[in-house]
Each structure stands twice: as C-alpha cells, then as structure tokens.
C-alpha cells in the first residue's frame, strides 16, 4: 500500500446533533476522541460556546476544530468590543461560513452544526459542509454517526418543504424535554452501531433563561 507523505488530516470521529424548537435550541455531541481503532480520550468536548445564545458543535479533525473555535471566539470578542453587544446566532452563522470559505483551497476538516436563539428568541440551527456552504434548518446532524441519526430525525421532526407557500416555520413543535429525550435516544442508537460514537453525551440546552449543560453516559465499547 503506497502512503502519500502529504496527507495532513485525520478524522477523530464523533457525532453532533442540534434541534431547534419554538423558544429553545438543543445542541449535543458525544465526548469520544479516537484515532483509527484507538480511543485517545473519553472526555473531550466538541462543543464551544461562542456567545450567550450561540453554541457550535463540530466533529472531524480536532486540530482544525480547535483552531476554528479559537478563531471564532476571538472574532466574537472583537465584535463585542466594537458593537457593545454579543453576536447574534445568525450573524455568527454568516461569520462561520465566511471563515470556512476563506480556507477553500486548504479547508478546515470540520463538520459543523451551529445552534442557538435568533434575535426574536426562536430556536435556529445552521448546518455546514467543510467549506462553508450553510443552510438554516430545524434540525441537523454531522459526524461519523450522522448517516445513522439523520433518518430518525427526519422521521420524528420532518420539516415542511421550503417550497410550500405560505412559508412555514422549520422549528419543531416538540417541547424542550421531548427534544432532549429524542437526542438521548438517537445517540443511544448511534453508539450501538458506530464505533467512533460513545462514552459520554454532552447536551447543551439554550433558552431565554440561559444555557444548561447535561452529561449522559453512553456505552463505552
């Protein structure tokens, strides 16, 4: 097997999910960090709080992810100093897209899901590819377990088609606790069948009261 000497990326695995509700947003990710068939740590957070109502979950190459999160956090701080307020979620969404496309020809190996509340207090979720193409949706998942989880979210949360008129809201009518239960269920299923997903699940819930964090144990095998 010939090995190219110039492959600079590696996939550290993991899965991220976000679900938007009428007045809340749930962002969740597992905490396993792997390389090949080895586990490096069972306790690595993939979630970054960028602003008081905006949370980013990323899976992929952790080196690029750490750099990306640091970059965005610094830009958010600059915005705070210049505008005397924190960045809103849709603004951060655009910033993330531009940051990713800036490195179009040497991309961040990061698959992102941004979740939070928009300026009206409604839940919003933005989903990205590695070079910054993004879309606001009602729910999304990225990472090694995403192909296992996405059909289940489709089945439970199916968004109305964006082609329908009048334009219907993409957020789910489920309550906050129902959405959190759904997230726990899908991660339990993904953990069974995906070797890179497991150990612990970190769930962040954003609503108008603030941000709440919860940890759930997953299978460690």
């Amino acid at each position: 097997m010939s090995r190219r000497g110039d492959w600079v990326y590696e996939n550290n695995g993991g899965t991220c999910v976000a679900i938007a509700g009428a007045d809340y947003c749930v962002v969740a990710a597992d905490t396993r960090l792997s390389v090949g068939y080895n586990i490096l740590t069972r306790d690595h957070s993939k979630i970054c709080e960028l602003a008081d109502k905006c949370v980013l979950a990323s899976s992929g190459f952790q080196g690029d992810i750490k750099a990306l999160h640091k970059n965005l956090a610094a830009r958010e701080l600059l915005y705070q100093h210049q505008h005397n307020k924190r960045m809103s979620c849709p603004a951060m969404a655009q910033l993330l897209s531009n940051t990713l496309y800036y490195k179009r020809f040497f991309p961040y190996y990061a698959f992102n899901v941004l979740g939070g509340l928009d300026s009206e207090g409604k839940g919003c979720v933005f989903t990205y590819d590695a070079v910054g193409s993004y879309e606001r949706t009602g729910y999304s998942t990225q990472g090694t377990g995403s192909s296992l989880i996405m059909p289940v979210l489709d089945n439970q949360l199916k968004s109305p088609s964006p082609l329908l008129l009048p334009a219907k809201d993409a957020v789910t009518p489920l309550s906050e606790s129902e959405a959190v239960d759904l997230v726990k269920d899908v991660f339990a299923s993904a953990t069974e069948r995906d070797i890179y997903t497991g150990d612990k699940l970190e769930i962040v819930v954003i609503n108008k009261a603030g941000m709440k964090r919860e940890y759930i144990d997953l299978r460690k095998d």
């Binding site: 377990g145 192909s147 296992l148 989880i149 996405m150 059909p151 289940v152 489709d154 089945n155 269920d185 899908v186 299923s189 993904a190 069974e192 069948r193």
Partner: protein
C-alpha cells in the same frame, strides 16, 4: 426484521445506473418457499443470476429430500455459493429471512463472499445500509406483532432511503407469519 413469531423483509424499487434511474419496479425480494425469502442488493445482473441459481438448487433439494429447505440450511447454501466465487465474486449482499423449526423466525445477512452474520433483531444491506442501521436501531422493539412490525419496517425503510439518492422510487414490504403472507407496495 424479526417480530413475534413472524418476520418482515423489505426493499426499495429503484434500479439505477449511477445517476440515471432505469426502472422503478425492480424486484429485489424473492420467494424460495412459503416460509423463506431472500433479498439481494447490489449489481442487478448478479441479483438475478444468484436468484436463479438458488431457486434451481432449492428445487433439486425439494425433489431429493421431498421437503422444503430450512432457513439455516439455505443460508449455508448461499454462503457456500458465494465463497465458490471468492476471487471473482458476485457483487451482491443477500438478506435471508425465514420461519424455521416451530415457526421460529430466522434472519441473516452476508457480505459478497459469504461471511454469514446472524442477528436476533434486524439485518440490513445496500447503499443506504448505514442509515438503515440507525433507523432500525432506534425503531426496533422485541416481540412486535405483525401489524406493528409492518409499520416499523415501512417507516425505517422510508426514512432511510429518503436520505440516499441511489435508493427510493417506492418500497415493497412483506410480512410473513406461520399462517399468512402480507405484501404491500
């Protein structure tokens, strides 16, 4: 997928060549005998050839033994047939489902060179297999009655193939109990 004294086997209906859809009524689930079905995903020509070879072998077996093949035996037959072509394989992944002794449900799947994988709950194969694993894992419950099993399999199939551009154009679900066979397109 296995239920209470019954099983369900399902497939999509699309036949395609990369982006182009060639048929929307392609049959992938075949009957071997009343209580034994095989689903084949992969290269269409191999699907049809393998099916013809297996029916041939089963008919010979019926003539010699004067009875139907047990699902476990049939699974071993498929495995042997696939391994015969170890260095020039059939590009097919079979899913076998049947009711064995005492109408006990039996399911198994194989890779294209015959490595059997028995399961107690569900087996999947095809281009949407990862999505199917996720959907089935979430929706499966042990000991489902035929009606509930039918609903579960339909929902899991629909959700998974909708996320796969190479699968779709309708589904076909078959639920088999010791007394009756229920087909829905």
């Amino acid at each position: 997928m296995v239920g209470k004294n019954c099983f369900a086997i399902a497939s999509d209906r699309r036949l395609g060549v990369q982006l182009q859809t060639v048929a929307t009524d392609f049959q992938r689930v075949f009957k071997i005998h009343d209580k034994l079905y095989i689903g084949l995903s992969g290269l269409a020509t191999d699907v049809q050839t393998l099916y013809q070879r297996l029916v041939f072998r089963h008919k010979l077996y019926q003539l010699r033994e004067e009875r139907d093949m047990k699902p476990q035996t049939f699974a071993s037959l498929v495995s042997a047939l696939l391994y015969e072509k170890r260095f020039g394989p059939y590009f097919c992944q079979p899913v076998i489902a049947g009711l064995g002794e005492d109408n006990e449900p039996f399911i198994c799947t194989m890779d294209c060179i015959g490595a059997k994988e028995l399961a107690k709950d569900f087996v999947v194969s095809g281009t949407a297999s990862e999505s199917l694993y996720g959907a089935c894992e979430s929706m499966y419950k042990p000991n489902m009655e035929p009606e509930e099993l039918f609903e579960t399999v339909s929902q899991a199939l629909q959700a998974s193939v909708d996320r796969d551009c190479l699968s779709g154009w309708g589904g076909y679900v078959l639920v088999v109990t010791p007394t009756e066979i229920q087909e829905r397109g």
